[in-house]
Symmetry: C2
Subunit: 344 residues, 2 copies
DNA sequence: TTGTAGGCGTTATCAG
DNA sequence: CTGATAACGCCTACAA
């Protein structure tokens, strides 16, 4: 049915090798070049990926495994990754493992069986044994967003400096005079949550201040979680003067709780977020936030993987790219009650 | 490097055909069965998908093309589709075309070149010419959510009865006595928006009522759009007594506008939505809404496609599955000013 | 039930 | 620069 290189050979009178070489970027006489181009167009020919794969053992397909497809950050990363890869001719198999370690492991196996050339993974499992089948077969891996210590040296990675970001954010509040700071965190045990928590403590420590323990709320990175967590903070005997919410979903939930309780920002409460929903650019542009470079994360991860695929037979150099975050200034943070007045 | 069936043949002393047959579900002597199983495990063997594909012309891969990955409804569909297909051994190539018709066309071509066995598409382009390359090559297609008239008979589809859903929703408001009903619609020209608009008018027509034209707001199915549209409705000289928001994103945006303006539902305004954000189950459980069966849509689409793939050489029977929606009762709609008191 | 052999469409080697 | 030719690993008649 579909045209093959044999058909082109027949029409043009050229040999298979010549055609193959040209189709793969090789040099050919201008006359033959035109001949082949015409035939390709006429026959509506495209290379048979099966045959090519059989010969080259490369599928030009990348597997992406993420915890949840309906989390803004993850989706965003998938989008940028896919874009970058598609421009280089790579297709992307997307697997949402529903934050289920067993499913995650299954999916990695599935992808390996499908002969993907590489795997991008925002890991759910903290130990990384789900990636063993890929490692065994020499499938290059790039971790995104969350590192896995036991895998150091065996995989590459792209992360942001979560601790630093959190430190910067917290510093903003502390230096503004806030002391009773609420922080709404992701689940205990999740890499990013731990790091952001650490940064929060460090910022205090560096200033010789102690953390207001009542303000620490572990949540689950969901909108609902953020909503509930903020409600909890607002209904405690002692109110925070500022709240730092550590991801986009929870920020949305938390801000709804605020608006329900008719709490004004920053008059009644200072508010700071780690990432924020797109919606907020229109809706609440004054929100101060620490932004992760989604685009750069996705692109870097894709490029890191592509480089690993290039490195033909040479031993792959694994590396972890640490991207920095940026404080997007707004007006949702105002000096806290204990701030010293500055001389101007 | 990787083990092949030849290795298994060598180890077990069996012939290739026997092994191949067994691996594909054929019958083999129990003794040989065990022999092969052992060898497979020992060698960590999996079928080479390239070689298999070359023989069978099937990739066991499905392409999915959607307008936006970061729209809750689309993402949800992708999730269910992927789940269903993976359970049947199919991998899914996800393509987000950014609501760009040119990109959409490009992606269909990309997928065809990748030899996908079938395509699932929530179309951006209203005319369907982007699917021509797939049709030319006999790649089965299932449209989701939006139909394309010119393609009738050439593709299958899964939709919900949008007009009916919208009619039911509007009826609820009209029969509750509302007359000044605001409706926030998707973009003109988009299939679902047109259908939902039609249902809105029909409900009026069936009751001999005229539509309150000032209440009709075309928006863009985004949160921002919903927010802006609701603000617009609320700042007009004449206020609606009820508002019907026609997708999930806009519902979120609209409800934020409500809460900002401190408008109470349903005391000040009745509120009804088409789909709603997950968040609302916790946050605003009383919202009355028309729900689409996301899960069923995804599963049906996947199964329709799988059936088309089964139908080996027989002429494919194209069909359009029309799923029905369900009104999820809440308390966000109360009798309008012009309601007649009912006898109990 | 089992084994043998040919071919699917490319790529890569090696002469010419 | 070009062209025969031999794999790549699996499936599938066909024969035993």
């Amino acid at each position: 049915m579909a045209a093959t290189m044999n058909d082109i050979a027949r029409i043009t009178g050229l040999g298979l090798a010549t055609i193959s070489k040209y189709l793969n970027g090789g040099n050919v006489l201008p006359r033959n070049k035109a001949l082949i181009d015409d035939a390709v167009k006429e026959l509506n020919f495209t290379v048979n990926t099966f045959a090519r794969g059989l010969k080259t053992s490369r599928s030009h397909t990348i597997g992406v495994v993420i915890p949840e497809l309906n989390f803004a950050f993850f989706t965003s990363i998938v989008t940028y990754v896919t874009d970058t890869l598609r421009k280089r001719g790579y297709a992307v198999l997307v697997c949402d493992c529903r934050t289920d370690e067993k499913l995650e492991k299954e999916m990695v196996g599935f992808l390996v069986d499908k002969r993907v050339d590489g795997i991008l993974n925002i890991p759910t499992s903290p130990n990384g044994e789900h990636l063993q089948p890929a490692l065994d077969r020499g499938v290059p891996i790039v971790l995104i967003d969350r590192m896995i210590q036991p895998l150091a040296g065996q995989v590459s990675g792209v992360i942001v400096d979560n601790a630093d970001a959190s430190r910067k954010a917290t510093a903003l509040l502390l230096d503004g005079g806030h002391r009773d700071i609420g922080i709404i965190l992701g689940p205990k045990g999740v890499y990013t949550a731990e790091q952001r928590y650490a940064g929060f403590r460090e910022a205090h420590g560096q200033r010789g201040l102690t953390v207001w323990e009542e303000g620490i709320v572990y949540s689950d990175y969901t909108m609902e979680g953020g909503y509930v967590a903020m409600k909890k903070l607002l209904s405690a005997p002692q109110l925070p003067t500022a709240v730092f919410v550590t991801n986009s979903e929870m920020t949305l939930g938390a801000s709804i709780a605020l608006s329900e309780k008719q709490i004004r920002v920053p008059e009644d409460l200072s508010f700071l977020s780690f990432d924020k929903p797109d919606l907020f650019n229109a809706l609440f542009p004054t929100l101060t936030s620490v932004q992760q470079p989604h685009n750069a994360i996705g692109e870097t991860a894709a490029n890191l993987l592509l480089n690993m695929l290039q490195a033909d037979k040479e031993p792959i150099q694994h590396q972890v790219a640490m991207l920095s975050t940026q404080v997007l200034p707004g007006t949702s943070v105002r000096p806290g009650p204990r701030s010293k007045r500055m001389t101007i």
